[in-house]
Symmetry: C2
Subunit: 441 residues, 2 copies
Amino acid sequence: MAASGNEPRLPRVVIVGAGFGGLEAAKALSRAPFQVTVIDRRNYHLFQPLLYQVATAALSPADIAAPIRSILRKARNCKVLLASVTGVDLENRSVVTDRGEVAYEYLILATGARHAYFGHDEWEPFAPGLKKIEDATEVRRRILISFERAETESDPAERSRLLTFIIVGGGPTGVEMAGAIAELAKYALASDFRNIDPRDARIVLVEAGPRLLPTFDPKLSEYARNALHALGVQVILGEPVTEASATGVRLDGKIIESRTVIWAAGVRASPAGKWLDVETDQVGRVRVGPDLSVPGHPDVFVLGDAALAIHEDGRPLPGVATVAQQQGKYIVKLLMRRARGKEAGPFRYRDPGSMATIGRSRAVAEIGRLKFTGFPAWVLWSLVHIYGLIGFRNRAGVALSWFWSYLTFERGMRLITGPTPGLPETQSPLKGADRRILDAA
Amino acid sequence: MAASGNEPRLPRVVIVGAGFGGLEAAKALSRAPFQVTVIDRRNYHLFQPLLYQVATAALSPADIAAPIRSILRKARNCKVLLASVTGVDLENRSVVTDRGEVAYEYLILATGARHAYFGHDEWEPFAPGLKKIEDATEVRRRILISFERAETESDPAERSRLLTFIIVGGGPTGVEMAGAIAELAKYALASDFRNIDPRDARIVLVEAGPRLLPTFDPKLSEYARNALHALGVQVILGEPVTEASATGVRLDGKIIESRTVIWAAGVRASPAGKWLDVETDQVGRVRVGPDLSVPGHPDVFVLGDAALAIHEDGRPLPGVATVAQQQGKYIVKLLMRRARGKEAGPFRYRDPGSMATIGRSRAVAEIGRLKFTGFPAWVLWSLVHIYGLIGFRNRAGVALSWFWSYLTFERGMRLITGPTPGLPETQSPLKGADRRILDAA
């Protein structure tokens, strides 16, 4: 496995983050004359676009995650390091981690983004976001616990708070989340309770802007709104959330009471900018040049959600998987050209289209000038997402789960896991509701 | 859904615990003239015999769990209550929970058992057991993190501790765990690391008694030992563990250093005895009469691992699923006979046989006088366990995962999840190993 002593040492590339962009770069490098180290805090690559399905009990965490080591098993020039990066030493060309320092000749930062609260981090305990597996199982826990608590709640006001679910943010994640919760309540849970009817659950989607799915064609936004209405989801547009608390959210002058608020409204780039001590935009993205390198550091690249890269038309590139993947491939091509003494042209994004699903048989898709809605878009969405998963087992498992759910309307992953089975502190019901006699009939 | 006011109220049966015994009782009661409330701290029934496969990354938690509500969906006379029981008020016939009190005419306590440390609860942080889903994901985390840490560990002594896995207890769980870890190291992880060879991992199974699988025929114990040897597992018999710590276990005079110790040695019954304030044996089991009722309380029954029930031959019944299931059915039959003014004979256990698997194509099975080993026993074991799972989705999912693992030797569920990706406090590597320069080559 070790290189023989006579060979010249190959240049070292360090990739931080094994998301869509980092992994694509690592795969491309596996066929190139470099020594590669992939550093990630997690031992798995996560297929984030389906995380909302874990949060709504349709899939298991392992269905949408694959160990980084097994993905890169055959890339013999790639090492994987499970470690937390704490900084970058630009002068000595080394990445500082909690497991030691790792030297590089080329550095690719593909560290992604976290959800963010527009400066109101104090809202996070009341309105968890959806970026990690633990986020998804926590949201799943809150949704399921709310129905359980409503079942034994005698105070009608509290029962109604427990059966109200607010999703903040009308982008793809918010739309998909709202549709999935509505289907969970309408179908999967419909006959499982004796005192409440889960179909009475109120699902509210709040978007600050004038329409849902703002990056899509307005016709598709309208379709999404109608499809959500058909599922019983209340859509509120043009009203930013001004406060989130344990009992709900405040909009401009209006309060919606709820025990379960889910945040899908904003993201903030990972601390790559802080590590590099360079200029970032207001959401923490590092401004990169046309070749994705950091100004003044031609051997340091930032890609994906961590980077502010500018499209040919002058607009920033969107924070989607395909941008990160194409950037990962581009950087490797650039490194290989440089190794031959050549330069590369600027990065160009080829938009393969975008899509979002609203629920069973309902979706929107936009590919170039083509626009699809309804069943065809939903089939396309399903195929693209199954194809995007890594590994046959994940594909087969997800296909099986979806097929099963489609036939039976069931959700198989309704597990409330975690340290205590009760409500989290921020979500506890009113004290007076406890210690009463339950009607066992 | 509510009963009309003119009907006489049906007698109320409260079942605490939706394990094998409690669920079997609830299902049998669904066809009987009773009002039933099933109370559990968890919202799912767990198929505990396959928990070790979650701990070794072969299955996902949701594969072996099913929501209690959906299992009992069609049992319209059954309510499910997610609550923690804190006591039983025998005088007022009511179960006290953190969600209120639930009145009963008949009470069935099916609360199972936890793992136990023979009076050494201080060992638990160093040697977690395997009874809950959270136990299994924690054990999985520890096993996978140990390989990750070994990959970057430069101190040979610490690397050897990280690559040593000790399983305490030679019953079915211990044997299955040891075989599964050996296969994980030998096959699934074999090519995934660059600095260590996972096949060098040392797996040690320690049993205090003179042979493995003490409840099986001695020939099968011998087969299990040989099969484990063939997988590279070191089996130590006749040596009780006298201490467990962050660096390993102490046997009589001997120390085995290890960062990962797994406890499969002892169980302790749940606090049912304390709630009832009645006599228990040394592992906390409630002594019940021949009809499984608590002496002096003919309407209170205890079954399964929580009960000390005596076999016709004078020996206590074993703590296995089939005993609990038959007891659950028996109690319902007894209640129905009583309702018709008749008495029931004593509970009789019909032993359907027992089996344990050692790994791929290796198992032991004992059915009456018939004894099987090897591939036939393994196929039988697989079929019985798939059949025992609740719900088509779980069966299909587990069958798919097993088939996939059988073909590819892969383990798909290798996720390290939890609050921090590092080692738990009790398992942290020596401090001096940190902050060094890692060799990125």
